[in-house]
């Protein structure tokens, strides 16, 4: 659960709104027709795949409190989600596959 104050939550929403708008408006609004240099475009291309897997990695690969190994059910559900996403190129299909796999595995091994 989020422990931050209401003020902090609103600060994050406002900051993200302004920052996202400025990123979107940057070239279209302020810089005009000049192009970004090639090396910058090359780095920016990888930002989502550079941030999101790392954000999720601890929850998937590190053991939960009171255990010594990663949870095989989570590992399997995560692997299925990525595999279906790579294969189908479809976010919703991958989400559905991952949630179904998680539900089935929990039902099989934890009930």
């Amino acid at each position: 659960m989020i422990q931050q104050s209401q003020g902090t939550i609103w600060l994050v929403i406002a900051g993200l709104a302004i920052g996202s708008f400025l990123l979107r408006f940057s070239f279209l609004g302020l810089i005009g027709k000049r192009q970004l240099p090639g090396w910058a475009l090359r780095l920016l291309r990888y930002t989502p795949v550079a941030v999101i897997p790392g954000l999720m990695a601890p929850q998937i690969f590190l053991p939960a409190d009171g255990s010594t190994l990663p949870d095989p059910i989570k590992l399997a559900a995560a692997a299925i989600t990525v595999a279906v996403g790579v294969w189908s190129r479809n976010v919703i299909a991958a989400m559905a596959a991952g949630v179904s796999a998680l539900a089935v595995l929990i039902w099989l091994f934890q009930s």
Partner: protein
């Protein structure tokens, strides 16, 4: 093509993407309310930011109790690609009046960019008014769908008892976003470095380990891309 005709053409191409946007908005609504945001905060979040991956990133880092500056920087890093969209559309839309450019910037979601740039590169000689019309046509259904789906998800999320473990649904939602992005070896290497880096630097305070991992991963992706170009295997 008149702006009006272009608007309807864009609308026709954009409409099916409602089916992609709606479930994702609902997922954000559920996750945000389960994390402790109220319905108004969740809805305002979606209306003000319209960027699902960055919104989920911010909520996840707030749950991890990261410092506010880190929450903002990391979520904005996820949105850095928007600057790339902006740069790539500027040659096509840069001549439009500034209020139209500002409105298009606010509405620039992944799908709108992809639909727009595909059309404009095939038809670079469309008048700028028609290009603007096409862009607005493509997003006109998507953004309201995003707001309403978020609201539906938020109402659903507050109805789910907090004792029910939906925790691991968050990694699943994120991983589902990543799979389709792993189009090239360079993207795969970047994702791998990101995971390994985040685990190695997990001890660094203030969630800065993730920033270190992300910077290394961006560099790794760019290096692999250069290597593939040199070997003539980059398309």
């Amino acid at each position: 093509m008149t702006p009006g005709q272009a608007f309807w053409a864009g609308l026709k191409i954009g409409a099916p993407f409602v089916l992609v946007v709606a479930p994702f908005g609902a997922v954000f609504g559920v996750v945000a309310t389960e994390a402790g945001l109220d319905i108004v905060q969740t809805l305002v979040f979606s209306i003000a930011v319209i960027a699902g991956a960055a919104q989920l990133t911010a909520v996840e880092l707030m749950v991890q109790d990261a410092p506010t500056l880190i929450v903002l920087l990391t979520a904005l890093a996820v949105n850095l690609r928007m600057a790339m969209y902006s740069a790539s559309l500027a040659p096509h839309l840069g001549a439009a009046p500034v209020w139209q450019r500002a409105l298009m910037s606010y509405l620039m979601v992944d799908q709108a960019y992809a639909i727009g740039v595909q059309q404009f590169e095939q038809h670079p000689d469309m008048p700028v008014g028609a290009k603007v019309g096409y862009f607005f046509g493509a997003v006109i259904l998507l953004c309201p769908t995003w707001y309403l789906a978020t609201l539906a998800g938020a109402l659903l999320g507050t109805a789910i008892p907090p004792s029910l473990p939906v925790g691991f649904a968050v990694p699943i939602a994120f991983l589902a976003l990543i799979g389709p992005m792993l189009r090239t070896l360079a993207h795969m290497v970047a994702a791998f470095v990101s995971v390994v880096g985040a685990l190695i630097f997990a001890f660094v305070p203030y969630n800065l380990g993730l920033m270190i991992a992300a910077i290394l991963a961006m560099g790794a992706g760019a290096l692999v891309e250069l290597w593939l170009i040199r070997r003539g295997r980059w398309s």
